[in-house]
Amino acid sequence: MSQAAPARFLANDAYVTGLAYAPGVAAFALGDGTVKLVADDGGETVAAAHDGAALCLAVYGDGFVSGGDDGRLVRIGRDGSVTELLKLRGKFIEHVAVSPASGALVCAAGRDIFIIAKPGAAPAEPLSHRTSVTGLAFDPKGKRIACAHYNGVSLWWLASETATLLDWKGSHVGVWWHPGGDFVMTAMQENALHGWRLSDKQHMRMAGYPAKTKSMAWFSKGKWLATAGSEAVICWPFDGKGPMGKSAREIGPQGSICTVVAPHPNRDLIASGHADGSVWLTRFEDDKAACVRAPAATPVSALTWRPDGNRLAFGCEDGAAGILNFEGAAG
């Protein structure tokens, strides 16, 4: 089991709303509108990104992109420079997604999404939905974007700006696309998940979560899906035709509701953040779990690995954050 090695802690004084890790630098989006950049060599830079709260963050090119409740979408350089990409009056930019495969960027504000086809391109005219967009997810190639909303998910082809609808009645509050491209999952307002197998639009429904699922991610080359929203980390099998008729595996600590999951990029090791502020690493194979951050004042709100999986960054609702270093740690 990995041991928490030298760690770096940050005491921000605002909610950590998003986290992204580019090679060599981690970015923390904060409720005071700034994005704090922490380089692997220790250097800290604060980018004054938003007048309000930064609400969403993603890696973009060799830097980052963030959206805020000031209606701005900004590009953030590794040096902390801020360049405005979009400004909408009276709207929150709540979601942003970037495809590493195609370089395309999509952000959502209210019912509209805006596509920036490649870095440097101008935002396209907005594409509208009947209700607000509550989540975004690219397909693996970065040619399609899934937009969650009331009563389903719209799958847009970026090139032709045409959409197909995956429908399911109710309020969908987030969306995730399988890394093999075969499945789309949503989280529902009613503490349940919904999903579609894209080949035949077969539905899947996973209920019984005690809280809303706000985070999920596939691991083991897409064979398993780790989900938050319960005391344990609930893992659903996605090999073959999907999880229909199969049961889930519960792994990890059992004490406090899991608020965010982050599977390791290369190994079957799941990092999970919890409502009690703790962060755990659980080896999927034998369900062996280690606490790498002790319980603290507020829930963990963001969690992500450095792309090589050697460092794990976390952030909490009260602004407490840190980067744990597992370089050289034994498996």
Partner: protein, 324 residues
């Protein structure tokens, strides 16, 4: 950081032209040193530098939670969650609804969503009515009746445009629908802020008295079906707690579509504390709160506000909960 106290949320309803925007502007311009976030549906009518104004879309969503009349405001769930992430949070949040809006999805949002419940609390529903036009609206429009039925506080506004007799008649018509709300007669939405903010209308601990203001003639019958009316019961005999919660639950589950608001304070046999309950349609919230004082006469009293209410059946239900 310790868990911050829940932020109070005030909902402003009322017809277009009744004076909601005037009221909002009054609240925002008054020198009170407080910081408000305002969620509006018509962006641009107000704009005060120090406060945050958010444009909402009034997205009413059905919940698949087994509660057949349960709708919530999906946009509010998201906006409130995002506002809570801002550094230097707000003293209060004000939500303005469109003129014809049904207030129940807004109120139900505060019962149904765990994240909203954890960080904010519904303080009161304030309805602004135009004293000159409300009488006509009450006859013709279901929305006008429901906005009054839902209110904890009513501003009977533009009183300078009607004479005293007409005003008394209008107030009686309002009382017939809602005997619980505080009514303030105003011109140009002029009212002391403490009359509409931090009222604690949904705070069980602050509901110490229920004094329905029934005006003469309010029990008249011969209403047509869509009439919203109120029914109240009281007794000085202690109630059976188990029977009471069962009856309240059953009544709201079966009749909750027609019961808009309900509220009660009960003397439960064997309990030193009062049992306080309140509901919005089928959703209810109830708890034992403060103890009865030694010299305080104990009694149980409750009010239903709704349409198609069967007074006799409700009365039988209430009386069946009196402890043997």
């Amino acid at each position: 950081m310790t868990e911050a106290a829940a932020i109070p949320v005030t909902v402003l309803t009322g017809y277009l032209g009744a004076g909601k925007t005037t009221l909002l502007n009054r609240i925002l311009t008054e020198q009170h040193g407080k910081k408000y976030a305002v969620i509006v549906n018509e962006f641009g009518e107000i704009g005060i530098d120090n406060d945050l104004v958010v444009d909402a879309d009034e997205e009413v969503f059905e919940m698949n939670n087994g509660c057949i009349c349960c709708t919530v405001r999906g946009d509010l769930i998201r906006i409130l969650a995002n506002l809570m992430k801002r550094k230097g949070r707000f003293d209060a949040i004000l939500i303005e609804t469109t003129g014809l809006a049904d207030p129940s999805p807004v109120a139900q949002t505060f019962f149904v969503d765990d994240d909203v419940r954890a960080k904010t609390k519904l303080d009161a529903i304030v309805t602004v009515v135009d004293a000159k036009h409300i009488a006509g609206s009450l006859k013709d429009a279901k929305e006008a009746r429901e906005q009054i039925a839902f209110a904890d506080v009513i501003l009977l506004n533009k009183t300078d445009l009607v004479d005293g007799a007409a005003l008394a008649e209008t107030e009686a018509a309002i009382r017939k629908i809602n005997p619980l709300a505080e009514i303030h007669r105003t011109t140009k939405s002029g009212v002391a802020l403490d009359a509409i903010l931090d009222v604690g209308a949904f705070d069980l601990d602050r509901i110490l008295e229920i004094e329905p203001h029934f005006l003469e003639g309010s029990h008249s019958h011969g209403h047509h079906e869509e009439d919203v009316e109120s029914i109240s019961f009281d007794t000085t005999k202690p109630m059976n707690g188990e029977a009471l919660t069962h009856w309240l639950r059953t009544t709201l589950t079966t009749k909750g579509q027609d019961i808009l608001r309900s509220k009660g304070i009960f003397d439960i046999k064997g309990e030193t504390k009062r049992f306080v309950f309140q509901g919005v349609h089928m959703l209810m919230d109830g708890d034992l709160t403060s103890p009865w004082k030694a010299d305080e006469p104990r009694r149980s009293r409750m009010v239903f506000i709704g349409r198609n209410l069967d007074r006799d059946e409700l009365k039988r239900g209430f009386e069946s909960c009196i402890a043997a």
